[in-house]
């Protein structure tokens, strides 16, 4: 598979803040590549440099084999960009906006086809201002698809949407993946990265901490599983770490997560401890480790503060 995006040692500083610090990554043709990180981690800045919307301080970006600094206009004709924008033209109808945007490009898909791609047939004649959040987001994806691009850039495509609307967007994105497009997206939703992306780069404070398939990232960092529960009077992480099989303990807002290589041993030890110390133990459940745990392990904090 060929590389369509190649980013090498990218740096961007705003004042004292290193928004992007030595970021290197590659995206191959036909994959859904996700940049996962908390707000302010440098996802959007990195993406906008790659799209040619911002200049980098140093480092190089090549998109579809072309240097972004030299062939920016040519690249813009072959990529589709969605930004974290509210409505573009609040008082235009859906099909009017698509038609207008199409005219900016040398060749464009017919707007009715675009409307079908993002499942907006019922809203075809609605003014943009009257669209729901999910519909707005689907429209902005349709706008990114207007020139039938080879690469689709999506910046937080499901941010602020309810689960139903989020799943709709995922379906739209998967459809584009099936059509052979490469998708580069940013997200701060673990679930989105895990379920949608084939490869994920975890980014924090402008640096990429790890890049791999979501399942591999988890298995690389965790052989254990996570036991989560609530305690009314937690005895402290040091005490809990003594539990049989426990490898690590994290307590946040009264919610305890014990990572364990041997779930039955840890749980029976936990039950014993709760009985002896007369602690009220609730909401106990066991789950396999996720990207959230990987992020926590690598950065020491959760992705959403």
């Amino acid at each position: 598979m060929s590389t369509v995006i190649e980013v090498d040692k990218l740096c961007k500083t705003y004042g004292d803040i290193k928004a992007v610090n030595n970021v290197s990554l590659t995206v191959v043709q036909g994959e859904i590549f996700g940049m996962l990180g908390p707000n302010g981690a440098g996802k959007t800045t990195t993406m906008e440099i790659v799209e040619g919307l911002r200049p980098a301080d140093s480092g190089s970006v090549s998109v579809l084999g072309m240097d972004i600094k030299q062939r920016s206009r040519r690249i813009k004709a072959s990529i589709g960009v969605q930004l974290q924008t509210t409505s573009l033209y609040p008082r235009l109808k859906v099909h009017e906006v698509l038609d207008l945007f199409g005219s900016f490009f040398p060749k464009a898909l017919p707007y009715d086809e675009l409307i079908k791609l993002v499942d907006l047939e019922d809203s075809r004649n609605k003014l943009c201002i009257n669209l729901s959040g999910g519909q707005q987001q689907r429209l902005s994806i349709a706008l990114a698809l207007v020139n039938d691009p080879q690469i689709l850039f999506l910046d937080e495509p499901t941010s602020g949407l309810d689960p139903q609307a989020r799943h709709n967007i995922w379906d739209v994105i998967k459809l584009q993946r099936e059509k052979g497009k490469t998708i580069f997206l940013t997200t701060h939703y673990m679930e989105e990265a895990e379920r949608l992306c084939e490869r994920v780069a975890i980014i924090d404070h402008g640096e990429i901490i790890a890049t791999d398939r979501p399942d591999r990232l988890v298995s690389q960092h965790f052989n254990e599983e996570a036991i989560e529960f609530q305690l009314d009077r937690p005895p402290g992480d040091e005490v809990l770490r003594q539990l049989a099989g426990a490898t690590n303990v994290v307590t946040e807002n009264g919610k305890v997560t014990v990572y364990s290589g041997s779930v039955p041993a840890t749980i029976s030890a936990l039950m014993e401890m709760a009985k002896q110390r007369d602690m009220k133990l609730t909401d106990l459940y066991v789950r396999r480790a996720t990207l959230e745990d990987v992020f926590l392990k690598l950065t020491g904090r959760r992705i959403r503060d």
Binding site: L53, R73, K76, L83, L88, R91, L92, S103, F105
Partner: protein, 356 residues
Amino acid sequence: MKVLGKLLVADIRQFLRERAALFWTFAFPIFFILIFGAVFSGGDNITFNVGLAVEDNSPVAQQLSAVLQEVPAFKVNIGNQSAELEALKSGDRRAVIIVPAGFGESIAQGSQGNIDVYYDPTQSSSAQILLPIIRQVLEGFGQAPSLIQVKPMTLQTHEIRAIDYLVPGILAMALMQLGIFAAMPLVVERENRVLKRLGATPLRRSTMILSTVVFRLLIAMGQAALIIIVARLVFHVPMMGSWFYLAGMIILGTLTFLSMGYMISAFAKTQETAMPLLMVVQFPMMFLSGIFFPLEMMPGFMRPIIDAMPLTYLGDSFRQIMVDSSAMHSHLINAGVLGGWFVVCLIVAVRFFKWE
């Protein structure tokens, strides 16, 4: 070209769908005109004050004088020529009829007797109503009607009614607002990252700006037409100068204030900072550049400010063209100052405008 057309259509569609903006753009100046017009116009009389100066003692002339005084629509004031013309200049007469010396003699000899009718051409009713009546009276008079010739003569100076003074100013003010408020959508679109989103397409920024300029010019023309029509129908405000020249000044004025608006948008990062900036620019111009009050009323120390403001020159220019008001500045100076502002604002805007 195709893109420009599409952008233009999109602008117009959005504008027509934005009821509030539509209302303010077109109704606001009309409100001004109607309100001020109602305040200033002391109610038109159905009878016309007509001055009559008979410089000839012949029986024919006396007879003519008597007939004119019988006309029901006329309130005839008899006086000498210079006094009556003075009264016309100060607005106390709608027309002055002069029967010159030697009139009776000419008639008696069978040649033409000339009668001069002076009237104020800024008052369209004078021309439309008075002259036909006078003509009818004169032609129906006496035994040899064809020998009496009416020569309407325009006075060089005339009194301008308050409404005549006001309307061209309102037009200038409307264009000023239309221009500088073009800053607003630009600031909003930058804040909402719309400009950035457009920057991610191959659309050229020059095309985008050009479309907004053409769009605003179209609105300017619409506004001007509406203001002129309403002023004419309701208050009989005349249009004395050349339409061509008026259109040219509308375009130049709109471009000047558009570039000023773009300059403001270069310095305002958010809507919240743009609004006060626009007010700071707008209000002094509205009240100090002679739109509502003649400049003679302004204290002398304000003169430098007044002389610097482009609206002073646009208002003066429109007044000269539309109602033939006495010029503060020549057309060349008016156009030159506006052009100067246009160039300076444009350079500053291009230099400091940031797309994100």
